[in-house]
């Protein structure tokens, strides 16, 4: 009896795989299970081969599963394309009337659970997507959930649809359930349905919700996979959340609007992927120079250039690090889980406003789109909002917008406040904001001002890094191997470490969230004390490996790198770890 299971639903784009997946996810999470789900799709609207993989368990999950136990496939491609990842001895659910599996296609052992999906579905509707509901009905039986659970779920999902539609779905679900009950054996699982409902969230949405919670009032974006769902969430929730959402002509406008809104005093954020971010880089420097606090989300996808728009990668680290000409303070944070996306959004706004600089949140498709379950109390709504030093009328004399201070942070006055009028300028300026680039540049007195302003701005990072929680080694100190990961891959490593443990190998883990500024001292200490080190990241050149070496001098020699567009799996990490430890 297992208490964990991975299901893959596969079919053609347009087959409704996404909504079928979502229904399964909700069905499980609302019945007290943990879920971890991820979707495979292409940069095409119809006709590609798509899949949704949903891992279900009584316990917290860290990955959607290297392999899956059960495959529901709506077409033959599911057999030819998905078979490599079906577990030996797994189950394939399919409609034998639609296609047959030839012997030469049985490259491994599996059980065939044949269900006449189409035939059953036709009883209720001519819509082919109803087949999914039949299959989910059967699956509900197989995982030993009562049909009522699915019925409730259907009523919720189609709440705003007509009675007929709801009935049609209910009937299809029941028929699938009945068919399975009469013909198939339930799975050997032992799910505990007594726990309370869990939240399900994708990384992007957790981040959007966190931003909302932090008081973000302005979100701007130009559509771009995999960041678009943030835009959609904000657009949907704008009236309720008293927020403005704009979709301007391009990403240059997006970020400059974000700066404009922040200048006027609201918390403002924008989001994009690598290509859109490339267009924003000039204005990242503008935000830093004018000391306007903004939050920019970059969700990475397969590059270079248009690359693999619907696939994951973590290869934009140097793009965000190098964004904008010149030396200036910026912050790069890569949240490590869906939950962390929520808290990172809040933290990002607090940092941005406390230090009056641009904060970049670096996600990737895998974190943006994967779905995790959370206990409701894991999302603490009672969070600290720190808007930094915004001066009120009359509060200060001899106001200087860019006053030189110990930690580099100067008093910020919002337009409309009497007495503090000034120009926020992208040219080098003195404490008052007056340009020194024009008439004065190069004169002896101005060389001093320039130097002081550069140092004032750069000091922010020195102070900030002291405030940020330093990374700590997770797991036993004297492990055989220290695995470094960042962002979306951290959870994968957690799972790999469990697998290693089960095989008698002790590994510990260094998860990095703050990429820049970096905790060089602490990381250096940890890595110097490690027996062996290995880094895990989804790119070709080991970008964060390079970053670490740049700031610590330490070369992490062993690497798990993947750049084919699919997320790194625990198996990838596990296998390489074994090699490293054994060599």
């Amino acid at each position: 009896m297992n208490n964990s299971l991975a299901l893959r639903i596969a079919g053609a784009a347009g087959d409704g795989i996404e909504s079928a997946g979502e229904m399964v996810i909700k069905l499980c999470s609302r019945n007290g299970l943990h879920v971890f789900a991820f979707r495979g799709y292409q940069s095409v609207i119809r006709g590609g081969h798509v899949w949704y993989q949903i891992r279900i368990s009584n316990d917290k999950l860290f990955h959607f599963g290297d392999m899956f136990d059960v495959l529901i496939t709506l077409n033959k491609d599911g057999i030819t394309e998905d078979m490599p990842w079906l577990k030996e001895g797994g189950i394939v659910i399919y409609d034998p009337k639609k296609f047959e599996i030839r012997d030469n296609e049985k490259v491994k052992k599996f059980l065939e659970y044949k269900i006449p999906l189409q035939e059953i579905a036709r009883r209720f509707s001519t819509l082919s997507v109803i087949q999914n509901v039949v299959a989910i009905g059967a699956f509900t039986y197989l995982i030993k959930l009562p049909i009522e659970a699915l019925e409730n779920q259907i009523r919720e999902t189609f709440g705003d649809k007509s009675k007929e539609i709801i009935e049609m779905n209910l009937n299809a679900a029941r028929a699938g359930y009945e068919y399975a009950k009469n013909n198939l054996a339930p799975l050997a699982i032992n799910f505990d349905y007594s726990k309370k409902k869990r939240l399900t969230m994708a990384g992007n949405i957790a981040l959007a919700f966190g931003a909302y919670r932090a008081g973000c009032k302005f979100y701007a974006a130009y559509p771009m996979t995999p960041a678009s769902s943030i835009l959609h969430w904000f657009a949907e929730h704008a009236p309720k959340g008293k927020m403005l959402v704009v979709q301007p002509e391009d990403e240059i406008s997006v970020i400059n609007m974000t700066i404009g809104a922040a200048l006027a005093g609201v918390r403002a954020m924008c989001g994009t992927s690598g290509g859109g971010f490339a267009l924003m880089t000039e204005a990242i420097g503008l935000a830093a120079m004018t000391e306007t606090p903004i939050v920019v989300v970059e969700s990475q996808r397969g590059g270079p250039s248009t690359g693999l728009p619907t696939k994951t990668e973590q290869a934009d680290v140097f793009q965000v690090l190098g964004a904008g000409q010149g030396d200036f303070p910026k912050v790069i944070i890569a949240p490590t889980s869906v939950k962390d996306c929520y808290y990172t959004a809040i933290e990002a706004f607090n940092i941005a406003e406390r230090y009056q600089l641009p904060v970049i949140i670096l996600l990737d498709l895998y974190l943006s789109e994967r779905i995790e379950t959370l206990d409701p109390d894991e999302i603490n709504l009672d969070v600290k909002i720190d808007r930094g030093w915004i001066v009120k009328e009359g509060e200060i004399k001899d106001y200087k917008r860019y006053m030189i201070t110990e930690n580099g942070v100067s008093p910020r006055a919002l337009p409309g406040t009497a007495g503090y009028m000034h120009v926020a300028a992208s040219d080098e300026h003195d404490e008052k904001g007056n340009l020194v680039s024009d008439v004065l540049a190069g004169l002896p007195s101005m060389l001093k001002i320039r130097k002081a302003m550069m140092e004032k701005r750069m000091r922010k990072l020195e102070y900030l890094i002291k405030e940020l929680p330093a990374p700590r080694l997770q797991g036993p100190e004297d492990a055989d191997l220290t695995i470094v990961s960042w962002g979306s891959t951290c959870f994968t490593v957690k799972e790999a470490i469990k697998m290693l443990e089960e095989n008698g190998i002790v590994a510990n883990s260094l998860e990095l969230k703050y990429l820049y500024p970096m905790h060089a001292k602490e990381i250096s200490e940890i890595l110097s004390n490690a027996k062996r080190t290995m880094i895990v990241e989804s790119n070709y050149t080991s970008q964060v490996g390079r970053l670490i070496r740049m700031f610590t001098g330490i070369n992490i020699e062993n690497k798990v790198l993947r750049y084919d567009g699919e997320p790194i799996t625990p198996i990838d990490v596990y296998e390489r770890a074994i090699e490293v430890v054994k060599k």
């Binding site: 609302r30 008293k242 406008s253 609007m257 403002a268 503008l286 409701p376 337009p415 120009v423 008439v439």
Partner: protein, 290 residues
Amino acid sequence: MTLAVADIRKFVGEIRPDWCPGCGDFGVLNALQRALAELRLEPKDVLIVSGIGCSSNLPGFTTTYGFHGIHGRALPVATAAKLANHKLEVVVTVGDGDGYGIGMGHFIHVMRRNPDITMIVMDNQIYGLTTGQASPTSLQGHKTKSTPYGVIDEPINPIALAIAGGATYVARGFSGDPAHLAMLIKNGILHKGFALIDVFSPCVTFNKLNTYDWFRQRIYKLEETGHDPRDIDAAFKKAREFGPKIPIGLFYVTEKPTYTEYFEILKDKPLVEQPMPSLEEAKEILEEFL
């Protein structure tokens, strides 16, 4: 309107403009200061947003709030600042390269949204700050540093584009006639919606072709003809007049809802004054994930 010198002074900043003596931008600055004074605005309530160029240094010479951004991007900054606090009077002051060259995409798109901001383009038909290359409004044949054998590209027609782009107030002024210009700016600010004021603002250093005299010989005022600025076809015709005679004044005006008005939540108060979400509101949204 009677206007005390003190009223204008209120908008005259401490920093002396660093433009070349005789630069057209002085006239624009004066006209703007005058318009703001005539409107009895308070410096704290005005936000002047610019890009990069000689002309874009303008905000630094006033007493209002200002944002001196990057080349070509004043409009998005201004649009969003206005959305975030629509109590502010937002004015954009840029050059022809900034507004019509690198900033062209924003220029066309801002008009679709009709935010209540006023855009003043100091159109000197040259790139001044970079020492004299051709600009999008340089005339064909004009010899500049980047076109020593004469400009090839046809100049863009900002007035025609603004009319086609859906601007609700389209005017052209001449910095050699600051009183007329101040009137156009004042009405532009009063106008509810996006106002474009393209200003012939000669660059005395790098544009030896389109001088004050060149304009004086050609310009005439639309107000002094029977031009009806509500007639879009007439406006489009006038917009194409650019030869021995060149019209200045108000080409076109119409009414449309402004960007701010479209957002329900702004009816109540400016975005910047809206409270953070309460714990209850947040809880309600969190429920959606259950």
